[in-house]
Point group: C2
């Protein structure tokens, strides 16, 4: 293909344009280029592979089945798996440092801790190595003319403004999408952005001597504290990436921790086992920004057959189910399936079916992410809740295929999120009836309990 300069790209008749070269945008560019489309990608930030570029976010992500499937679709799953650390369960840390382990699924099932920056750089390498893909960094989208089909861009180094025509535009520019902002001003565009009263702060648990992990390596660690929580995901170098999810205001909140002494006193008191392993705690606490947590919903996700939103631009969610990236990657899988079904020219049908299929599923995922916030910060510290999870695991083993725990459906399957959520709500109702009869794990074997379980499952809709 020809190589237009970023200042005056001309759109070929069959070319597609992607705004945003984050995780979803760079993966999408691979899918579309491998189908033979010429792909122009514009990205606001500078190239993250340049030595002088500081990473904005060092957050770790949890890759699970939907993500792997999407990566597998362009043959890069094995490549990424090399740099992921499998986490086969949660380890809860109580205020005395006692640990409780809860497996995520069956033997051999795990989610993977992957560094966002690493994954993004790897996908960009693959995209730029792919015939037909051109990535232009430092291109801020100032606006879109939906009528003339032009992106208005500013080169962030030269400060020069220029326009780029598009035939087909994919908005993968994240939770604060400029592409979506243009759609928001069209008639009958439903939109909401809702912030939690919680913020987050990234901190570090240091590696031990010789790069050893100071807590169990193959687990996601949680310090549930009722109204707030801290989590930690393992890094390859032996350290853990911690995130504190904490109220903005109140007696225990970001607002209440004003000095290094405040921070040290608080952490020592509520996270006594982790704090001694966090030598940079107070420095990081005041140097790192306090992030906010937003849920974005909108509809439609398309404008005619010209523009389509995917990933966080269409459906940003809070991070508590570890599904934000996985949901965005699954968007790529589904779009690719629709291109297979309808052919690469039937964009109107494809865009319409894409949003009809993905909107209810990503709405359900948004609700699930809020639901899991309560579970992670509060319920996982409750012995009754942990007992219930053990009983659910027993039911699942006894009735294979007829009882798949909600977490497994979301994380270890590609069951549509809305179906998973509906099944999870039915299971919750059953467990609410069952648990009053169960005081200990062994009670599950009692004939009366077994009869109840049989009866409840008989009333379940066939899967």
């Amino acid at each position: 293909m020809t190589t237009p300069s970023p200042a005056s790209p001309t759109a070929a008749p069959d070319s597609v344009t992607i705004m945003g070269a984050g995780l979803v945008g760079s993966l999408l560019s691979l899918y579309l280029a491998r189908r033979g489309h010429a792909v122009q990608v514009f990205e606001r930030r500078p190239d993250p592979r340049r030595a002088d570029v500081h990473e904005g976010r060092s957050i770790n992500l949890a890759l699970s089945d939907r993500g792997w499937k999407a990566l597998g679709g362009v043959g890069v799953a094995n490549d990424i798996r090399q740099v992921g650390i499998p986490m086969s369960g949660r380890v809860m840390h109580d205020v005395h440092g006692n640990l409780t382990r809860q497996p995520y699924g069956h033997e051999g099932q795990a989610i993977y801790s992957v560094n966002r920056g690493h994954l993004n750089r790897r996908l960009l390498d693959l995209a730029e190595g792919q015939t037909g893909v051109q990535v232009h960094f430092g291109q801020q989208c100032l606006g879109i003319d939906l009528k003339t089909k032009e992106l208005r861009l500013r080169d962030t180094e030269t400060r020069q403004e220029h326009t780029a025509p598009y035939q087909r535009l994919f908005g993968t520019d994240g939770a604060f999408s400029a592409v979506r902002a243009a759609l928001q001003r069209t008639d009958r565009f439903d939109y909401s952005q809702d912030f939690l009263d919680y913020g987050y702060k990234e901190l570090t648990i240091a590696a031990g001597p010789g790069g050893a992990w100071q807590f169990e390596k193959n687990a996601l660690h949680i310090w549930p504290r009722g109204q707030y929580l801290m989590i930690a995901l393992p890094n390859l170098d032996g350290s853990f990436n911690c995130t504190l999810f904490f109220p903005f205001e109140g007696p225990e909140s970001f607002a209440a921790l004003q000095t290094p002494a405040d921070v040290t006193e608080f952490f020592t008191r509520v996270f006594p086992d982790a704090t001694p392993l966090m030598p940079a705690l107070t420095e990081e606490f005041f140097a790192h920004p306090t992030g906010s947590l937003v849920t974005v919903k909108c509809f439609p996700w398309k404008y005619d057959d010209d523009v389509l939103l995917l990933g966080d631009a269409a459906h940003a969610i809070v991070p508590f189910y570890g599904q934000g990236m996985n949901a965005g990657f699954e968007d790529c899988t589904v779009l690719n399936q629709l291109l297979d079904q309808h052919g690469d020219a039937a964009w109107a049908d494809i865009f319409a079916e894409f949003q009809a299929q993905r909107k209810p599923n990503n709405d359900a995922m948004a609700d699930l992410a809020i639901y899991n916030f309560v579970e992670m910060r509060d319920r996982v510290a409750d012995p009754r809740f942990l007992l219930q999870k053990k009983i659910e695991a027993k039911i699942s083993t006894q009735f294979p295929g007829r009882w798949v725990p909600l977490y497994s459906q979301v994380t270890f399957s590609d069951t549509p999120y809305a179906e998973a959520w509906a099944a999870g709500q039915r299971q919750d109702a059953i467990m609410a009836r069952l648990m009053p009869h169960i005081q200990a794990e062994a009670d599950y074997e009692q004939p009366a309990v077994q009869a109840l379980v049989q009866q409840e499952l008989a009333q379940q809709p066939a899967r």
Copy 2:
């Protein structure tokens, strides 16, 4: 005060800036100027009083008690009342042209049909006649720099861009507010815009011979048809301003009416008494735009003590309770009360208290407006519903002050909207228990029913 040119206004230390000179902006300018503030008003549209300016919207509005109170606060209520037409009740038209009348309140209570354009022009005359107010038309807000406190404006005639510094900025620029758009990009700003699947179309019932009204003058006319409705409000010249609220898509919808013959057939069939009085029907139907119906909610309404949103910019609602303008005017009343209480310098306290007080009330009003949509299009055609309303009127007469119908609390009082809505929900619950015992109006006098009413009212919270 000095008179800066619109191209380079300089903000005096105690000056306030208002973006938007619609109904709420022009009324607010009067309130603030009469307190001694120097007021700069910028408005995107040209001066609506210029002979060559075509009115965008000819819609009639229903002024009720909250609106009158706000107009009274700057002494202009009597002036406006001269051009309003009192409507003391609803008149329902069925598909055979049969009429049913339902009074809005007690003898002497009415809402007023007022032309939006007339009201706006009158308020602008008053504002420009007020010492301290300067209105600049044709000034489109392109953006706001919240840090340097500058409005970025474009003169719509010269196309020149310029900036205007502000000390204190009030955003009264409507449902699609540019001021709010700037706040939307700040962290932790909750925002939603939700469109109904219904649009609206404005049409005209012509005046009769000699300027006579062809339906009852002092009423709001409704043609309820289950899934849609038409309403008509009287004009001073003998005509009525009609609005059809109608689905965008479906078997009976805007999408289904494609030709003049479609429109004539549909209107003749479903609005048989009105259609012969609408000589310009097909012409207007295709010439007038199809409007959309949006609910906007957001929070916070302020940015530090620099910027405050009021009216539709903070809380746009659907028009079915006739309270959009009244709610915006009440914002002015409340802001003025807070200035009285705190003094004209305590802006931080005033802004904080304003949004704390008004947010729950305007949220309740948004819900009420959707609630009344169902009532107007569907329930008012139901004889059981009309019987219930008669029974409620009897209870209200028998227990003065202890049972104020929801409609009266919203329309003929300044009870906070949230309190009115809560009381209305309690009343709905009582009527749901009472109505099974009542088949006709006279049943209300039966001892068993009277005993039930007494018992229900005894359980009501004291007002």
